[in-house]
Amino acid sequence: MNSQYQPKIIGFLCNWCSYAGADMAGTSRMSYEPNIRIIRVPCSGRVNPLLVLKCFQQGADGVLISGCHPGDCHYNEGNYHTRRRFALLRDFLDYLGIARDRLWVEWVSASEGQRFAQMVSNFTKELAELGPRSES
Amino acid sequence: MGLENPFVPYLATLKSVVELTPDIKLLKVELLDPAVRAGFDYKPGQFALLSAFGQGEAPFGIVSLPQHRDGLEFAVRRIGTVTAAIHELEPGDILGVRGPFGNHFPLEDYVGKNIVIIGGGIGMAPLRPVINQILEHRNDYGKLLIINGARTPQDLVFAPEFQAWMEAPRTKLELTVDRGDEQWRGRVALVPNVVKEVAPSPDNAIAITCGPPIMIRYTLAVLKELGFRDSQIITTLEAKMKCGLGKCARCNVGDKYICQDGPVFTFEQISQFLEQP
């Protein structure tokens, strides 16, 4: 990313899988772009769409919601609800002019540190292409 | 600064904080600008709007006495966002003060009369300056009866001053709680029942009461039974106030603006309100 534009990403990571996965990426010294600010949540199902909208309102360029793989949820069905909620919100935001690629929902288990690091880098590259939030 | 735009508060610093009860603090506030401090004179019953910048503003009765010239005191109960922010302030922090607003207790009319003061919980706050003003000019007034009630013993407000109130000449202090605890030796009864039991005489007397609406309703009934006329019973109304300047109309109850026509009213005036507060 040559341009000086640094996308800001807010990441809601579920405590049981994704946060542990990000932790593993850290402890195994995997490097990935520093654009993400992580917020730990008990479950990806805890993320209220209002939180995501507040992130975009306060100037975030991208929002990542990461939870356990469907079926592995510590609370059995949290990520099933996440899936439904943000499948709809993503389409709706796109319709309103906030690019759908600004909202990612990913499943990262506790052992997929590498995959988490790679995913953050991909997301940062994608957002760099999309450009700052002002236009879309 | 300030008067030019009446919405811009005077800056003040928090001098001291005293925990009166688990959810009520006594704050002493000093206006920063000496000129403003000199010109800021008020009377018991008036209120000011305190600003916790970032959270907002709320009205509080001024509970200190002007002649002490020792800063402004407010008793603040933690009940909402602004009061919570005020409770977090420490001595030295900056806050905003706007006022003084509203009318005041017409103490000059009570000279020579017996005074009955009935307060419930934080309702004692606006009554404290009246008590202390009477004690500082004790001979101008007749007998002073103070009935101070609260839910539990630690919720009794202004405990540090009970001793002084009890020892003052021709003064009686009746404390009561809804629910006592092991150490509590005093009365366990609702305020209106204590008023009925002590049965102050209405002759040449006035009663000032302030507290939760339910206490007021029953205390009023008891006082009427004892022979007090509406014009002899005074209270200070708490309403949603925002500007304190008679403009935003939030405190408009009936045809009155609490922030300007009140907050101190006699129940005779209140009975003529079109709308009951």
């Binding site: 909208l53 507040k54 439904r84 943000f86 709809l88 319709y95 236009e135 879309s136 | 966002t81």
Partner: protein, 288 residues
Amino acid sequence: MDSELIQQIRSEASYLLKDGTVKCVIGYERASDGLTSRPFFAYEPAAVERLIFDETCTHNLVRYLLDKKREKVAIVVKPCDSRAINLLLNEAQIKRHMVFIIGVTCSGVMETSCNDKGQALQARCQTCQMTKPLVYDFLVEQKLVERPEGEPYLDIQEIETKPIAARRAFWSEQFGRCIRCYACRQVCPGCYCPDCFVEQLDPLWVGIRIAPKENELWQITRAFHLAGRCIGCNECERVCPVDIPLGRLNRKLEKEVKELFTFQAGLSPEEQPPFATFKKEETLGFEE
């Protein structure tokens, strides 16, 4: 104006009031402009003479059931309004035995405004195929006019096909006009939270600041809270004093909910709404 239809409504209402089955009948009466109509609450049998029904009766009266939870009332219900009854029954906001439903068959209501009976049927009525309410206790039938089947989401597609910057500009301009009078919330049968998020102070999601960012957060969240619940009566768009096409927010979500979860709000009081349930095997675009 079909007087035979009105006579039936009046006699049923009078009967219900006289024998005390209901405390009041919620229906329509002629408005002060003498042309259009407005909601009307009849408490005494004599008042039923003011009840009318014609193609200017646009209001969705079901919202008023939220204010009359503790007494049995009767209510005049169009086919689209009846979906709102199913919504409130599904969300346990009203009890079926507390509501006597006077259903009216309908062939569309006009695009009315003050002093204007309207020249055409409302857009949503032009292609609506519902002629009979889904639930009623007493049905009043009127001769119906055939309406053509049509492509319901043309106005939504018109926005979807714009480039993203144009969509962004379109909605920013619309939301820019919002004065936050909350009429869209107050008129909606689905909006009944005692403490709406927009007025919460702690956390201060939106509050009183009227600016593009706050207006956008308000409008998006309001619509999203109705996803899978909005029954398409379009009252929010009708009441908006600054003409924001709110229907195009709610019906976009209605279209997506149909595609993603094959669900439509208010068709039955038992069916689980989309966000209250899930299917394990669905991926919804979030592949493994």
